[in-house]
């Protein structure tokens, strides 16, 4: 008995000694780990062209204007902006309290340096087209910039909000050896570049001096894990806090886990089946409308995509400025048959649907679903699967050479402004090879409206113009409007304040981890 007591007190003593050896309680480091499927190829603004790069870079290098989740354009590095009555000169007033991570002051000279660099044809920035209407960037004061345009271009401010046009410290760029591109960007953002181990991760650390107030996170680690199943397992094992692109079949299991939260957000991409409006029978709008009524979008979204979609109600998604819900087309096979009969095809017809494989989520299965649903109204569709590069080359031919009939494709309005989603695809000046209007659709009223919206600076008027254009396009139906893609991510339930933007970007500057 005595011996036992002795033992117990000895153990207690040891435990208390161990406890005394512990360091005093400190605030644990706020470190967020995000697993993405794709590594940013580069963080150099004049080279960036994909959303993983935009996701990481926007924490470091900021654009002049911030595009909010709801599609509104908010002041950021630019406090305010206004356009001259003729629409040819935009004046931007800049914040005066901003410094780059290397201490270089942010001012009008820095903006000119960055925009000139982005616009320089020799630099061949893939997204130069966003602001190519700018002919001159003028320094009109220490913190005032005037942008001169060759023609009025209303979407300019929306385009300036793009994460690819991030502001780099001119000092840091000029210090680069001749011909070298930026590897570790130096910007004005809430986080600073800390480490990039290629193939593994990028680590950012909080910018204590951030003009918007220091973020609550101390570090963000962006991990690159290409395999979907591995990302899910890393989340389940507690190795990471947030993962991109959860496969639809894993969603129910993750939703049942109390420690995991499934996050959904709309994306900017629409998936559609285009018609070649120059060839029979698709030169008849009745046929095109009929095929729209023949498709059960709800079924495709639920059973093919596992919920990762939303039936399209316009040729652009709701997050895009200028969106107007004209639909969706109801699923009504009876009406489809009736319209086909009116168009002179009471027994339907045969045609071909071209589609890519592995480019979009479940693209082959979606094409097969369209095929099966069209068969119900008497339209026999032969599917032709093509490899992506060959597919693009096949589709992008001038009208006299084009041989496609129906084609499955997607389009992401990455600028979140309707101009980019509608002009390139529906304006008749954009028929290949000039642009991507692969349906050879032409409606002069639509052309006029899209032209007008381009040069109307008044937001309400622009919105009304796009509404009118979308209604006409919807009625003419140069596409089978299918669905908007929905992003499905997942995270630990302890993550707070993290935003999943429609542009497929995770924004973590207001995030923290609840301990």
């Amino acid at each position: 008995m005595k011996k036992g007591l002795l033992m117990v007190s000895a153990v207690l003593l040891m435990v208390s000694m161990l406890a005394m050896g512990c360091p005093p309680e400190v605030e644990p480091e706020q470190r967020l780990v995000v697993a993405m499927g794709v590594e940013p190829p580069t963080l150099e603004p004049i080279r960036m062209a994909c959303s993983p790069a935009a996701t990481v870079s926007q924490h470091i290098t900021q654009p002049l204007v911030y595009l909010d989740v709801d599609g509104s354009l908010d002041p950021s590095l630019a406090k305010s902006w206004e356009v001259s009555p003729d629409g040819l000169v935009w004046t931007l007033e800049l914040r005066q309290d901003v410094k780059f991570h290397d201490g270089t002051p942010f001012n009008a000279e820095a903006v000119k340096f960055n925009l000139d660099r982005f616009l320089d044809p020799d630099n061949a920035a893939p997204f130069r087209f966003l602001i190519e209407r700018i002919t001159e960037v003028e320094v009109a004061g220490d913190y005032t910039v005037k942008l001169h345009l060759d023609e009025p271009f209303a979407p300019l401010v929306a385009h300036l909000s793009h994460s690819f046009i991030g502001m780099l410290s001119p000092t840091a760029v000029k210090a680069l050896p001749e011909g070298e591109l930026v590897d570790y960007p130096v910007g004005t953002g809430p986080f600073k570049m800390y480490e990039w181990v290629r193939g593994e991760h990028i680590t950012l650390v909080a910018n204590d001096e951030y003009w918007g107030g220091r973020p609550r996170l101390d570090k963000i680690v962006w991990e690159f894990i290409p395999e979907d199943a591995t990302r899910v397992m890393r989340l389940e094992a507690g190795d990471v806090h947030h993962i991109y692109r959860v496969p639809p079949m894993d969603v129910p299991r993750l939703e049942a886990d109390p420690e995991i939260e499934v996050v959904r957000a709309s994306s900017v991409r629409v998936i559609y089946v285009g018609f070649n409006c120059l060839v029979e029978p698709f030169d008849n709008p009745k046929v095109r409308r009929a095929l729209n009524y023949a498709i059960d979008r709800e079924a495709i979204v639920e059973f093919v995509l596992g919920g990762a979609g939303r039936p399209s109600d316009a040729p652009i998604v709701p997050a895009v400025f200028g969106h107007h819900a004209a639909g969706p087309y109801e699923f009504n096979p009876e009406k489809a048959r009736q319209l086909l009969a009116e168009a002179g095809f009471p027994d339907g017809f045969s045609t071909t649907l071209y589609h890519p494989t592995g480019r979009y989520m479940k693209d082959v299965a979606v094409a097969e679903a369209v095929q099966a649903q069209l068969r119900d109204v008497g339209v026999e569709v032969e599917l032709v699967t093509m490899e992506w590069a060959a597919y693009l080359a096949y589709l992008r031919k001038p009208p006299e050479e084009a041989t496609h009939t129906m084609y499955l494709l997607g389009w992401g309005t990455v600028t979140l402004d309707a101009d980019y989603g509608l002009y390139a695809l529906f304006h008749s000046s954009q028929w290949p090879t000039a642009g991507w209007a692969l349906s050879f659709y032409k409606n002069e009223a639509v052309d006029d409206l899209l032209d007008a919206a381009r040069i109307t600076p008044d937001l309400a008027k622009r919105q009304a113009t796009y509404k009118e254009a979308i209604e006409l396009i919807w009625e003419d139906a140069p596409w089978i409007f299918l669905y908007d893609e929905v992003q499905i991510n997942a995270q630990c339930a302890s993550v707070r304040g993290l935003v999943l933007h429609p542009t497929e970007r995770v924004q973590a500057w207001d995030a923290w981890i609840e301990k």
């Binding site: 794709v38 590594e39 190829p41 580069t42 150099e44 080279r47 062209a49 061949a124 893939p126 997204f127 087209f129 591109l181 181990v197 290629r198 193939g199 593994e200 991990e223 690159f224 894990i225 290409p226 395999e227 199943a229 591995t230 397992m233 890393r234 389940e236 094992a237 507690g238 190795d239 093509m386 490899e387 992506w388 590069a389 060959a390 597919y391 693009l392 080359a393 096949y394 992008r396 389009w411 990455v414 090879t433 000039a434 991507w436």
Partner: protein
């Protein structure tokens, strides 16, 4: 001996020329224009044209090939269209990781394979023998990505013993990928060791050794195994070459930052300079591993002479 090595080295030249031709043709035979694919959906025709010029695709085919080989000899693989960095840098950065994984899995495969093979041979027709050969059959047949995911599910998610993928720099990150990648090779090595051992154990000098009264352990490991290892070494050599190149799936599943995964990422992005370089590197490694194994023979078995 050195003459033999020299002759083999000279013989690798036509092989490497063949490889360079194949790699060169590969990119040009891809359907559609690589320039269109690289420039992407949103590109303007001018930008596509610029990419085509940058890639040199506007020149005659034979000129393109000579430029390609000329650059190659200077170690210039071109610039990665995905990252804008030299392709050689991209590949060279990742190569040590692939070698690390290939060596670890060769080690795992050799240890497991030889032990299982020897025990199976010495206890032919026992339960262990049939059991281990059954496992070996499983090891050869099971798809790598499936095995990887199952191991991860078991050891990382359910048991929480090991990390689920990534390369943290410590040995625990290496264990699961090495086992996954080495499984098929372990099975092949086990089967090879077993049959080679069985053959040797039937030979007269083994009977002599036993007749001398040597202990069975000495007979097995000192006399039989040493002689049975020669074909096994060949297999290990060949397998390590395969492991070097076969890491593509394992590296993708485990997010291991090696050349295999780089190759997958580059194929997805149609980053042809990097794909070309990675394929070339794998081919060169395979050729030299083979050469090394052939040379190793003469050291293992003094009876083998190269004339």
């Amino acid at each position: 001996m050195w003459q033999y090595v020299l002759r083999r080295l000279i013989l690798t030249i036509p092989v490497l020329i063949g490889v360079s031709l194949l790699v060169f043709a590969m990119v040009r035979l891809v359907p559609g224009c690589p320039a269109v694919a690289i420039a992407g959906v949103h590109a303007t025709p001018e930008f596509v044209e610029q990419v085509r010029r940058d890639l040199g695709l506007d020149r005659p085919l034979h000129t393109q090939y000579f430029i390609f080989v000329g650059n190659l000899l200077r170690g210039d693989l071109g610039v990665s269209t995905r990252t804008g960095r030299p392709a050689a840098t991209e590949i060279w950065d990742k190569f040590p990781n692939t070698v690390e994984l290939a060596m670890a899995s060769t080690l795992v495969a050799s240890v497991i394979g030889i032990i299982a093979g020897v025990i199976s041979a010495t206890r032919q027709h026992s339960i262990f023998d049939s059991g281990s050969m059954l496992v070996a059959l499983f090891g050869v047949s099971v798809p790598v990505f499936w095995l990887g995911l199952v191991l991860m599910l078991l050891f990382a998610v359910t048991l929480d013993w090991l990390p689920a993928g990534g390369r943290g720099g410590t040995i625990e990150y290496l264990i699961l990928p090495a086992i996954t990648l080495g499984a098929a090779s372990a099975a092949i090595i086990a089967r090879m060791t077993r049959s080679s051992m069985l053959e040797v154990l039937r030979q007269d000098f083994i009977t002599t050794a036993r007749a001398k009264g040597l202990r069975e352990r000495i007979v097995t490991y000192k006399h039989a195994l040493k002689n049975a290892l020669i074909p096994v070494v060949t297999i290990i050599g060949l397998q390590s070459g395969i492991l070097l190149g076969g890491a593509v799936l394992t590296e993708t599943v485990f997010a291991w930052p090696g050349v295999g995964r780089l190759m997958v990422d580059s194929i997805m992005a149609r980053d042809f300079p990097v794909v070309q370089g990675a394929v070339l590197l794998f081919a060169v490694c395979f050729v030299f591993v083979n050469l090394f194994v052939d040379v190793l023979y003469s050291f293992l078995d003094p009876r083998i002479r190269y004339e």
